[in-house]
Symmetry: C2
Amino acid sequence: MIAELDDRDGARLIGPLPTQDASIIIENLESDDAADLLGSIKEEQAEAILEQLPSRDRDELTELLTYHEESAGGIMATEPISAPVDATVGEVIELLRSLAEEMEDVYNVYLVDKTGRLEGKASLKELILAQPGQKAAEVMDREFPRVNVGMDREEVAGIFARYNLASAPVVDDNGQFLGRITHDDILDVMTEEVHEDIAYLTGQSEFDPGERSLYRNLRLRLPWLLLGLLGGLAAATLIAHFEPQLARLTPLIFFLPLVAAMGGNAGIQTSSLMVRGLATGDIGDYGLTARLARELVTALLTGSICGGATFGITYFWRSDLVLAVVVSTSLLAVIVLAAIIGALIPLMLKRFGLDPALATGPFITTTNDIFGLFIYLGIATLVLSKL
Amino acid sequence: MIAELDDRDGARLIGPLPTQDASIIIENLESDDAADLLGSIKEEQAEAILEQLPSRDRDELTELLTYHEESAGGIMATEPISAPVDATVGEVIELLRSLAEEMEDVYNVYLVDKTGRLEGKASLKELILAQPGQKAAEVMDREFPRVNVGMDREEVAGIFARYNLASAPVVDDNGQFLGRITHDDILDVMTEEVHEDIAYLTGQSEFDPGERSLYRNLRLRLPWLLLGLLGGLAAATLIAHFEPQLARLTPLIFFLPLVAAMGGNAGIQTSSLMVRGLATGDIGDYGLTARLARELVTALLTGSICGGATFGITYFWRSDLVLAVVVSTSLLAVIVLAAIIGALIPLMLKRFGLDPALATGPFITTTNDIFGLFIYLGIATLVLSKL
């Protein structure tokens, strides 16, 4: 049951237990779940628990804990679901029988040579349909997706989705078989990665629809609201700076929230697409220029349409040509600029090794708000100075 | 390969083919992929292809096409992966052997009685470890998750995640075995559902990071930008209505974008949490009142903190007590109202059978903008009238 809780709840449950009891629980978990749990409790407690474990489990877990939690190594299990490549089908089945207790889900048996190099895989279906006397090597596949232990877990999820995999073997740089990743790990990864993106998108440090603690609720949200507040106060000083222009053509005031909001709306469309596209691999180095060009043309078109509509409505409403020109050209400029910022910032963040998802949510929206207001008031100043 | 494309690309590929060739492709797909593909091409073409198929495949696909695409029936496959409950293990394996060509991934065999009622399941592991002469009924499980054909596919995904399933049987209301759903279908469902939510969140009709067509790019985004534009213009007329008050205390103008943006920021935090929580099942009828109360308290606290900070900064900046009071109390009121709207609208949408995810993105942000400005200018009017 503990395996199905998330790590934080699991840690909360296991934290107060005596080391003896905790180690029994850990011993009965699959190795990947056990490592995740040990990784999220206090270090001294984790070490005390490790000492109580049989030496094989201890070595396994110590190794798993060295991998980065967002890598393939961080989500793999090391249960020994491999057999010598020169075994017969009957021998492989015999081996499975001896492991049956320990393993819940078996989809494939991985066949390795004497040095532990992964040579092939045989699915249970293939084993069941073969004759017990046949060599396992005769029924095994040699060509199938394998995952390097250092691969990013989101990339691993992409491979599972592309090839509809139930499980995949994990190997090191020399092709040594290390463990396997199964479909349920991938479902967890997908949920976590997507919630991470939604968190940034909606201005929260973590996204947790199951959250019940008021304090945590506050801690996850307040910093982002304060960031937005800071941006809004910067916008206020910017507007104050342009007070004379606003006094000269007061209806300019009416459109302040519109201009700010449209920059935000257009920016988030582009940036969210870039961020998810970079995450899923739909957007890569190949064809990037063509894609950026397409985003720019989209922004020019939507900006022209929104600008045109605003020109008509504003002129009809206030019968003021100067006002209509300023508002509509600003809107076009703001939408185009927001798209450019929304497309480029995720790419820049990625280049600097940061999470592109930072370029969604309040951070980019606030930036777009301020740039938008600056453009609007700048254009207004320019036009008014020519009159 | 066609099975791995999304439906729209698959349809584009198969659309121009002669019926004869298309039907050969359809015949070789698994039934769920075939039904999805037929559902996304022109109806006449689909019917022409169906007529070319062997009658068993035709009946299967015709039935699959009757299920709603967002239900369990819409994602299940009907390959006959069942055996009579009184068969021996050897007979079940023999049956598998005869089906081996047709089926790619087998995880469980479902055991049914003479009327087709689902009685139990035997995993391949259990079959492999049993003696061929044993009755299948002896090694099968009787207690395991099964899915009703009409269940929402997102709920099905929740069951897969909770029990770490590789596959689950689908039954009708009488417990008749109809087909099975596998982990790869669930991965697709998760991706689609999450992209649906992100689309609404970021103001796009569909979310497709792989999109390459300019026209589609425009069509997915423009309606939402125009919706935002409409909201912004409504805000403009609202502000125009309060022109006398703004003339009396001009620095009120500086904070117009701040007040509008903070309502949007606070609202999206709450609404996105509600929407995903309703989708994943983390938020249900149980404990709903407590959760809503917690959201309200969070909003009161964040609102007070933001309001307090703004009071200090504004007063320090402009040395105007009236201004500082109006801006900071408005901010508190706006944040609390935005949280209430953000929590209640998803619940209302769900009650009326609409997608709660509509309550994220430009729709709710624009609503919050306008309400926020109305509160701000209303409080300003009230305070100014007392002076």
